[in-house]
Amino acid sequence: MKYNLELLKNKRKIIGFSTFLILLSLLGILYSTFNTSYKKPINLGMDFVGGNELRIERVCEEDCSNFSPDSVLEKLREISKNKNVLNNIKLQFQNNNKLISIRTPYLSNEESNNLIKNLDNIVGPLNYESKDSRLIGPKLGKRLLTNCVTSLLVALFAISLYLTIRFDKNYALFALLALFHDLLIVFGIFSWLGIILSVEVNSLFAVSLLTIAGYSVNDTVVIFDRIRENLKSRKEGYNETIQLSVNESFRRTTFTSITTLFPLLSLILFGSYSLFWFSLALSLGIIVGSYSSILLAPSLLLKD
């Protein structure tokens, strides 16, 4: 089973495809930034803006009685004191009406407790054993955001430094280009997800970007190493050697991506809901990352 990817012939198609993806991502980011309901390049979750998230299960036999979210909200408005909060409340029933999930702006512990009590009166009884509640103050949110952005910048700087020390200029530059390509596309996908499905990003998303950065560069490094090694003992021309090296490491790169995707797939299928979008972001990053390592980065090395 020999692989024969025709990089030379398809260089334009590859670069065109990547440019298309990047433009699409930029479009999502710009749309999200200038849309009045977001005003941010990506839909920031409560980790970064503060708020209160509550998920709690109701105690009921197989099927729970049906409540319309609006009627529950109406009742909550009647018995809760802080009107400001209740104007910005989102409530959903999931799992056959068994699971209630609520998002509100930031509440104090006292207010959050009242909310739960009121909820218990309306749709109870509730099972406090399976409650998941998070309260994040707006101050902490801002801090987390700066924290994540700094981490990303520092990591990117460290990786660039490592690449420049390890490779010569061109290689380092192209590896970095491929890296930014991967990050931008994953970011763009989540911008679109935010616009279409109102998916929010939290600090785990930043973690996934960092992990993708580390992982995707790793793939590129392996391929570039192979190219360098083959160029030293080359029998064919420069471009052909690059193509040969890519084909030689094709199996390895796809296989490692697949073995990394398997555990992520298990996390998506069986893991806790709080890890769902995180695992998805990582999976996307690994797919885009192996594409850019196998096809994009070596294509950039080709000489016309």
């Binding site: 004191k81 512990n109 924290n147 460290a158 580390g214 490692t256 073995t259 893991g271 806790s272």
Partner: protein, 489 residues
């Protein structure tokens, strides 16, 4: 060959050690896996950074308060120079803790200014009114939508505001009530003059039920010098109609007259009681705050996470499913593609799992959900090195080399690019660990440890196991290492 046998025994020894460690030092589970609450407390300082001493001082006050609250197995640690993290395992309600911890608990004793007798009387009356309104509003649940009640409340608020010559900024009624009460508290406090007696002069606090009714009172015990100060202060106002106010965080919780019998010596004995209609719970909270002393800097609770125990155990189960199914997927894929080599990598992966978990219990690493996801992700990355090596071995075999030779050079040639390739992932982990929050640190730690251990298991362990395998003649056939269609190549 001899040296490899040594490695084999070493690996078996490590495995036994890991199992021993895991049995005797079980893994520490984070709150998201066993249920409980976590509060992040932010120290508020308007100018400059929080110094180490200040952090230390806040830490010890909070620690004392937590201990006095009697929560079991709580854990308090500092984070990043100006934050504290308090963990309360189990079903303990974070509400009480947040109420007790969040207050500065600055206790002051003040004496009334002369000639403010009538001013205080009116303010006290208004305070009583507003307290009653707040109570009505809180208990009135359904009647809030009752327009008559609303109208009555609005009128009352207007009347009080006019009397006070104050207008509140809040839009909703409840906000207005709270705001007015704060204003009244401030006005009352202003009618009193500071003394040099404060919460610092306390050596103990307690509580007891009042004899005449079901209310509670809080007892204060002063230090020697505190007792003298208290006697001095009470002496100065005894027999006058100036009152003594006990003020907690700017709110007067008790105003009392000092009888004329104390004119000569003041109140001696070094103790005092505060009786301000406390419920049992309120009295206990005040007691805990006073015992712990006041906070040198105010704090704010910026984050509360709480997870029910049932959900925690569900999370463990889900993670276990994910980890095992991930391992099985990877195992099937590897064995399908690499036959015996694949089987070797699966064995290495199992070793990898044990070593990882053993190291978590040794360091120790508290296992959280993100931590587990780091571990699961690193399973995929751990085989990465194996794939690199096996691909090399395949190439060597295809070139017609002998099995032993192919294996040797496969491991040798792949070595450098494996170590190199993991550096970037380690860099990311390192940055995450340095700059990340508590939550993120767990992921960085497990992924980073995983990558490091995988270097050992996929390079050394798989080589040793493979060498052990090929000592058996029957396992030396080339087609056990290469799927047949490749072999013809």
């Amino acid at each position: 060959m001899k040296r490899r046998q040594g490695w084999l025994f070493f690996i078996i020894f490590l495995l036994t050690l890991s199992v021993y460690l895991l049995i005797n030092y079980p893994l520490q589970l984070g709150l998201d896996l066993r249920g409980g609450s976590q509060l992040t407390l932010q120290i508020i300082k308007d100018e400059g950074k929080v110094t180490k001493d200040e952090l230390e001082a806040v830490n010890s006050v909070i620690d004392r308060r937590v201990n006095n609250l009697g929560v079991s197995e709580s854990n308090l640690q500092t984070l990043g120079g100006d934050q504290l993290i308090l963990e309360l395992p189990g079903e303990q309600n974070p509400l009480v803790a947040s109420r007790v911890l969040g207050k500065t608990a600055l206790l002051e004793f003040r004496t009334q200014k002369e000639g403010t007798f009538t001013d205080l009387k009116t303010l006290q009356l208004q305070r009583l009114n507003i307290k009653e309104l707040i109570e009505q509003y809180s208990s009135a649940e359904k009647t809030q939508n009752d327009n008559n009640f609303k109208k009555f409340l609005q009128d009352d608020i207007k009347a009080i505001e006019q009397e006070l010559n104050y207008s509140s900024a809040s839009i909703d009624l409840y906000g207005k009530l709270i705001e007015i009460k704060k204003y009244i508290d401030k006005e009352i406090t202003n009618l009193f003059i500071k003394t040099d007696l404060s919460g610092k002069d306390l050596i103990n606090a307690g509580r007891r039920q009042e004899q005449t009714n079901s209310n509670w009172e809080v007892l204060l015990t002063f230090s020697n010098s505190g007792g003298e100060k208290f006697a001095e202060i009470t002496k100065s106002i005894a027999g006058t109609n100036q009152l003594l106010a006990i003020i907690l965080d700017g709110e007067s919780i008790s105003e009392a007259i000092v009888g004329s019998q104390f004119t000569s010596t003041g109140i001696t004995g070094g103790s005092a009681t505060i009786s301000g209609n406390f419920s049992a719970e309120n009295a206990r909270e005040l007691e805990v705050q006073l015992k712990g002393g006041s906070l040198p800097l105010p704090i704010e609770i910026v984050e509360t996470n709480s997870i029910g125990a049932l959900l925690g155990s569900k999370n463990i189960l889900k993670s276990l499913y994910a980890a095992i199914s991930g391992l099985i997927f990877v195992g099937i894929f590897m064995i399908f593609n690499y036959r015996i080599l694949g089987f070797v990598s699966v064995l290495s992966l199992v070793l990898y799992g044990f070593f990882n978990l053993a190291l978590y219990s040794l360091i120790p690493v508290t296992l959280t959900l993100p931590g587990i996801s780091g571990l699961i992700l690193s399973i995929g990355m751990a085989v990465d090195a194996n794939i690199l090596i096996f691909e090399r071995i395949r190439e060597e075999l295809n070139d017609g080399n002998t099995l032993t030779r192919s294996i040797d050079s496969g491991f040798q040639r792949a070595n450098s690019s494996i170590v190199d390739g993991h550096i970037t992932t380690l860099l990311s982990c390192f940055v995450l660990f340095l700059l990340g929050t508590n939550f993120v640190k767990g992921f960085a730690a497990t992924l980073g440890i995983g990558v490091l251990i995988s270097l050992f298991t996929s390079l050394n362990c798989s080589k040793t196991i493979l060498r052990f395998f090929i000592t058996y003649q029957s396992l030396r056939q080339k087609n056990l290492y290469l799927p047949r269609n490749n072999f013809s190549n």
